[in-house]
């Protein structure tokens, strides 16, 4: 009777070791994540022989056997490195034309600027070969052009939500049908760069959110928002985004 030993998918283990972030296996296919849900590769690996564990790659095909490992037993670090290295080498052999980017081996830290990308250092874009002669271990250096795009999209979506709230008496909770854009089209005349400043009428030093709350309470006649309310944060985000490039000038009246 053949007993199937535990088939261990090593994805989690590899991520935990921090060697290979397997989402990059999707490489040039940005929609791979969405499609993965519907067409996950079915793992069709042979069962392990006695006293061994089969370790498979997430492509569902490549696998190797680790002898001397009982099901449920942890590999040593050295063992794990060897096994995963072997799997990756096998994968690369099978896909010679696919570009595998090791994020950690990407270009130097952002502080090392170049004429082309002064702010970003020499971060490799998609399709570029990484410069292996770079400093290792920087958090910021591990990020990719694609990350920046994702972050910017998230930020813009949040600013856009603030835009919606800013223009909607209903979302602001106004009881008299008034919204921010009635006095502040495109957030004009909000001058967020002048806070903090002493606001005589509030009898305290005010931040932008204090003015927003005051406006919501008075001209808009709604209920004040908690500073951590997503709407308040989104309103701040929208107002600040409209003043990009304006020098900070706290205390200006």
């Amino acid at each position: 009777m053949r007993r199937k030993s535990g088939i261990v998918t090593v994805t989690a283990a590899l991520v935990a070791i921090g060697l290979v972030t397997l989402r990059y296996l999707a490489a040039a296919d940005p929609t791979g994540v969405a499609q993965a849900q519907s067409s996950l590769p079915a793992h069709s690996v042979p069962s392990a022989s006695r006293g061994a564990v089969v370790v498979e790659l997430c492509d569902g095909v490549t696998h190797t056997e680790v002898k001397g490992l009982k099901p449920g037993q942890q590999m040593t670090r050295a063992q794990a490195l060897a096994v995963t290295g072997q799997l990756m080498a096998e994968w690369r052999r099978k896909h010679p034309d696919r570009h595998w980017v090791l994020a950690q081996n990407d270009q130097a830290s952002p502080s090392a600027s170049s004429p082309e990308n002064p702010a970003r250092g020499n971060i490799a874009g998609p399709g570029e070969t990484a410069n292996t002669k770079s400093q290792q271990g920087d958090t910021y250096a591990s990020f990719h052009e694609r990350d920046f795009k994702v972050w910017q999209a998230q930020t813009d979506a949040f600013v856009n939500y603030g835009n919606q709230v800013f223009h909607s008496a209903k979302l602001l909770g106004s009881t008299i049908g008034v919204s921010c854009d009635m006095c502040h089209p495109n957030a004009a005349n909000t001058h967020p760069e002048t806070y903090p400043k002493y606001q005589e009428q509030l009898q305290r030093v005010a931040l932008l959110r204090d003015m927003i709350d005051w406006c919501i309470e008075n001209p808009i006649k709604g209920k004040t928002l908690d500073p951590n309310d997503p709407k308040m944060r989104a309103l701040e985000a929208y107002i600040l985004a409209q003043r990009k490039g304006v020098a900070l000038d706290y205390g200006k009246h």
């Binding site: 006095c183 495109n186 005349n189 001058h191 406006c215 001209p219």
Partner: protein, 382 residues
Amino acid sequence: MAARHKSVETRFYEDRDRVLRALRNCDRRTFLKLSAATMGAVMAKGLVPPHTFQLIEVANAAVDKNWGTHGAQGSAPFRFAYISDAHLYERTLNQRFIRAIVKAVDDVNALDPQPDFVLYGGDLAQLGSPGQLETGRQILGNLKAPVKMMVGEHDWFLDLGEKWQELFGPPTYSFDWKGVHVVVLQSVYEKDFWTARKMTPAERMQTVAGLDNAVQSRFEVGDAQREWLKNDLAKVSKSTPLLIFSHSPLYKYYRPWNFWTEDAEQVQAILKQHEKVTVIHGHTHQMLFNQIGNISFYGMLSTAWPWPYAPEGLPKLTVQMNRADPFDQFDGCGDGEFTARTDQLVDTVYNLWDRNPVTVRADYLVSGGKVDRPPAPQFASY
């Protein structure tokens, strides 16, 4: 034989007789005022008889109500007040804007002497609903002086003017007043942006109500109305002064906020053929004035809220009003008056609530800013 051509002497004696008749009809107080004024003028001019014609000129200018339609030198001066951009919601929803328009009505009713008429500058309702328009009509009905109504985009785009015309008549019309030809325009027509997007009337109105969304079209007077204007002005002599009431500015200030009239140049081309033209507009909710060629432009204040100045495109001649204090509901808002002078130019007083009023004279505009500059702001926008 009809005296088609009158000699200078005939005309002089006719005018003189008219003045003397008026003098005979005035009450003691006016007579004393007149005598003092003429004496002052004579001394100031260092006149020695027989320069009696100049005395009649002064008497002519001083006697305004009793005068006829034409003076010796030009039109009779007259005053009219304005209330504009009230943006009313119904009483059950928003008391704030209602309090403001009632304040303006009180201001105008308290004027002594009363103005000849009151111009309502547009945007009576905020979202063009019948209830909002009715509320506005009721409140304006408390004005003692006659009211001339003008439509704004907030009144129009819910039902494309149906309720407005039921309440107030045609949006475009003209009339003559004391030697001045007055035209009221509907200058907030927009090219259809709502059909393709399958908008409901409420959505269309909500879109137009937002100043800073790029969805709506830019305001225009439109081909048909420009034709009407041309024909209307064809009957008016080039030397008759024109007063044009319009909601949009009839020039190009800031496109993203529709502080703009798309066919402004074409409208100005029709107007500038007349010697003295003054355009009075609403929509911008701020102290605003401009001069383009021989056309003077004055923007009216709103009773409801002040707009900030646009980031670009502000006319060079405009002296900004101080930034509005958000803690004061009425600051940056108000009403005002216009004076049509004997020399056919128009001055204005910006009756800013909770601030000193600001007078802007035509001399400032016509001289390109060299004389009579209005007071500078302490807190311009930034």
